[in-house]
């Protein structure tokens, strides 16, 4: 018997691979089955969002933001209009603020449901995915009932929203919440406490808090590492300071703090918090006009602004520079999935190829937002 020859091997995952969550190509250097380096190749979905934005008016940018994070379009809209209103110093009516929060939180639940379901799918659990999509469907139906679109809404406008809520929306939404809350326990029984699922995710892909901060990881991924940071709480925008809710953070429930399971678990807890916010918002929803503050022509004063909001994936920032004309001089989107993906190389070192899929899934990336 001779000496076993070992050699570095390059394995190519993607761009067309279901567990890369979009068109992402990973160049994985492996030694046997152990990963030594990952080079992500992005840009397959680059649609020049920022270049387009410099050629259209401020209102016309909103549909583009839909298409960046297509799983949470409401939150993408929300971030942009909040930034614009801060730049233009517009005060919108209370009803608009409440509607926006309701839509944002519903979309957060929908996005998290898909993230958790697909994560189960990545790891080999097919059933929870179908259960979660079933309930996400009901949220999309509510969006369709309100604004006519199921995925790309163009719903929030600078100074208002495109349509007022339908008359019986509150009843439908409360009915949904009453139905939905017990379902969370069902997901837990199906997936969270499943022995195989825990074995695949606990202790895998630990991101320590300082590494997470240095890589700009944000949102549920950062909170999974035990950092208490939520833009809704710490830099409140819109009317989030009026609601009572907790910020769930990871605690190493079944393994080390900051592992894949913690990131998964934080999302699950966040769904419950969103339900809490929704119930408060629906209870206090004031009446009023939703187009009152809509400016006839959007012409912000000269200046620049950077504002971040909490999208389901983390800190979604917009940098807008205005030169006083109706066309933005520069719109930059700071995308949370972009920063989350950047730490994949460091986190995956030393893990097996199957664990890379578990780590990538736990980061909950959306390629539309990474490539913009």
């Amino acid at each position: 018997m001779g000496v076993v020859q070992t050699d570095q091997m390059v394995l190519n995952i993607g761009p067309q691979h279901p567990s890369t969550h979009g068109v992402l190509r990973l160049e994985v250097m492996t030694d046997g089955e152990i990963v030594s380096q990952i080079k992500p190749h992005l840009g397959y979905l680059h649609r020049c969002f920022e270049k387009h934005s410099e050629n259209v008016t401020y209102e016309q940018v909103i549909p583009f933001t839909d298409r960046c994070d297509y799983l949470a379009s409401m939150n993408s809209n929300f971030g942009y209009v909040v930034t614009m209103e801060e730049l233009m110093e517009i005060k919108v009516s209370d009803r608009v603020e409440y509607i926006r929060v309701i839509m944002g939180e519903l979309n957060r639940i929908a996005s998290h449901l898909l993230a958790l379901g697909v994560y189960g799918l990545d790891i080999g659990a097919f059933t929870p995915f179908l259960y979660m999509l079933r309930d996400r469907e009901r949220i999309l139906d509510m969006f369709e009932y309100t604004c006519g679109a199921r995925l790309l809404y163009n719903y929030m406008w600078v100074g208002g929203v495109s349509h007022d809520l339908p008359k019986d929306f509150e009843k439908i939404c409360i009915g949904f919440l009453d139905y939905f809350e017990p379902q969370i326990e069902e997901y837990n029984n199906l997936l969270t406490y499943n022995k195989i699922f825990i074995e695949r995710t606990a202790d895998v892909g630990v991101i320590p808090a300082d590494v997470a901060i240095s890589y700009g990881v944000s949102g549920p991924n950062l909170r999974g590492s035990g950092v208490n940071w939520d833009v809704r709480k710490d830099e409140p925008y819109s009317i989030y300071d009026r609601f009572e809710f907790d910020v769930p953070i990871g605690e190493g429930k079944f393994g080390t703090l900051g592992d894949c399971f913690d990131r998964y678990w934080v999302r699950m807890l966040e769904i419950k918090e969103s339900v809490r916010i929704l119930r408060q918002a629906l209870k206090d929803l004031p009446s009023g006009d939703v187009h009152q503050a809509l400016p006839k022509k959007i012409r912000p004063p000269k200046g620049s602004i950077y504002r971040r909001t909490e999208s389901p994936r983390g800190d979604l920032g917009y940098y807008i520079i205005s030169d006083g004309s109706p066309i933005p001089s520069r719109v930059k989107m700071r995308s949370p999935a972009f920063t989350a993906l950047s730490c994949l190389d460091e986190v995956s070192k030393g893990w097996m190829i199957s664990d890379v899929i578990a780590i990538l899934g736990s980061l909950d990336i959306v390629l539309g937002e990474i490539d913009r």
């Binding site: 240095s214 700009g216 950077y306 800190d315 920032g317 940098y319 520079i321 700071r334």
Partner: protein, 166 residues
């Protein structure tokens, strides 16, 4: 810490590195490019400043005749204060030290800004395009950018100049 205290902390350590500019908005500080790496390391490591998070790097083109800019949004998880650093670059030779090893996310943000504006980050270990293909020509987000006539045999249709926006 408020913006004035942050500014004086930087000035005390590196005199002459802060440029006074009235046109900046109230949370911005303009800094000379030559000492940026030292200033950045100081801002991260100083226990009173403790800017441990680089929130965003935005490249800006101020117009065809003027400078390019890099704007860094910094944030401190410990003290929850934030600041925006503005650095001007010469349009003909835009160069600045890389902060890739100060904040790890700087790696991808700088690659993105390089990709879009052609600002070269000195000391970056892997500076290549990130969103555009490797063989793309020109810097797309510069105001004087002109698209390629063809790319790998695909002819790019010319867009007619539309009428001015009212």
């Amino acid at each position: 810490m408020n913006i004035e205290e942050i500014k004086s902390a930087i000035t005390n350590k590196f005199s002459g590195s802060v440029i006074e500019n009235d046109e900046l908005s109230k949370n911005q500080i303009e800094i000379k490019g030559s000492k940026w790496l030292e200033v950045a390391t100081f801002m991260r490591d100083n226990p009173d400043l403790s800017f441990d998070q680089l929130e965003c790097i935005t490249g800006v083109d101020m117009g065809e005749e003027s400078n390019l800019q890099s704007r860094y949004n910094l944030h401190s998880m410990e003290y929850r204060h934030k600041v925006e650093i503005v650095i001007n670059h010469d349009r003909k030779k835009p160069e600045i030290s890389s902060v890739e090893q100060v904040w790890r996310i700087g790696d991808w943000f700088e690659r993105e800004t390089y990709d879009m504006f052609g600002i070269s980050y000195k000391g970056h270990r892997d500076l290549r395009r990130i969103l555009c293909p490797d063989d793309w020509e020109g810097w797309p987000l510069r105001k004087d950018y002109e698209g390629q006539e063809s790319y790998h045999g695909i002819v790019v249709p010319k867009i007619k100049e539309e009428e001015e926006w009212e």
